[in-house]
Symmetry: C2
Amino acid sequence: MIKKITIVGGTHGNELIGPNLIRKLEQNGSFEQSTIPVDYLLANIEAHKAVRRFMDSDLNRSFTDEILDGDDDSIYEHRRAREINQLLGPKTNNDRFIIDLHSTTSNMGMTLIIKEQAAFNLQAASYVQQHMPNVKIILSDRDNQLSRTLNSLSDYAVTVEVGPLPNGVLRHDQFADTESVIRHLVDFAQMSVNERSRILPTTTEVYTVTDRVFYPRNDDGQLSAMVHSSLQDSDFEELKPGMPVFQNMDGTVTPYQGEAGYPIFINEAAYYYENTAFMMTRRTTVVPGS
Amino acid sequence: MIKKITIVGGTHGNELIGPNLIRKLEQNGSFEQSTIPVDYLLANIEAHKAVRRFMDSDLNRSFTDEILDGDDDSIYEHRRAREINQLLGPKTNNDRFIIDLHSTTSNMGMTLIIKEQAAFNLQAASYVQQHMPNVKIILSDRDNQLSRTLNSLSDYAVTVEVGPLPNGVLRHDQFADTESVIRHLVDFAQMSVNERSRILPTTTEVYTVTDRVFYPRNDDGQLSAMVHSSLQDSDFEELKPGMPVFQNMDGTVTPYQGEAGYPIFINEAAYYYENTAFMMTRRTTVVPGS
């Protein structure tokens, strides 16, 4: 079913691990012996040169049918999304495993974001977790046809998020961890179905997004609070009602008022634009072998 | 001698602590009782809006005589430097204490960068260090007339650097520490000379920059190495010859070959443009009261 593997870097141009890692893997001929051909894609070429998240619009929000079928050439990322759709897609052509490399300023460690369309994704992520026990798995139920992300170009896709990493910076430790994740994913993709079922764990913990929590702002649109120091860096640690979430500029503290759960993407730089302070998830146990 | 105090935020538009902190201090009327008037300046207004370090050129490299005396209007930061020179300068008019708020992606903790032109700067920094023992002091001998930075507009100036902080992000803990530094600096500026000499320590440790270490690059200009994981986050820890500094993409490790010293600004995002992996300093003991 999976005939090709594509490792994607630079979907966001200021996240440096992906572009430098695919360059290294390609130069060193790392996967030339793979039974499934592996190729590489530098996704947002212009934003990577400029060390910016994007030039005109977020590439990872540009893979909608409207944009892919459109012909407006004024936005660089929309042109580039159509090019990438030609290279890796179309969305209905599910013969490619896409590994999209990202980083986050949040303290999320190594996180794999997968789609539940294909059991393969959860199995592959569980296999990585067997070898790297600190890896977290986030399960997304977004339908490819409704999704705007690059990895909506195939049912078989894993998004790798590593943090905390400032934008515009390479870290050796996280670079090496990301390389290990890729090796395990490629190894798993090459296994037979029998081999997979023999080694997979019976259950795996996954997180699913339930909510977003937004920054408070003044009437003039300025931030009137920041993430409280006790929540900062506490990704994947349980947040319960009454615990501090915001330190307000007027000196008061805002407690959490939603349902208990596990926050992620706490204080991610890119989410200031979307006014998101963090997302909430619930944790469940699933069976990757089913 | 010091008739005014100006607290500057947003000299680099993607460093968020300064702009948000001066907005908070102004809104809360924090220094309205100060015997020396305190005012605030958002330095790079356009870059702060765009959450970029700069629009056309680095504002903190734009305070040269050539630019300040020039009339080329094509570069936003050069126009803005001339405006700020009108507001805070000119360079020869030393009646203002400038506190310029920055952040760094390096693990430098709280660092004050001061100029040795005025004994006041070292005394003020030592006073802060008495109250916040983890604060480090970097002494710069750059002559105002040769300096390109905003704080070259007065002999009385302290640059506050706090890290590690990703660009485009606010952290509560570092925000609060920066506010404490400002309060101590303003307190000290208001003291009489007698009062100062009574409380100052007899000696203080300072770091002075001796060298820069550059990233290795391929023939095509791409990074061929990253800061080694054992050097990462080791700002102000002694680096000796033979210790690893770079992890090369070909798998080899480059050891340090210079003189022993104390690295700073290790893996700072903004210094990739200048190809600087880190700077080296030597540590000396000086007498702040002299």
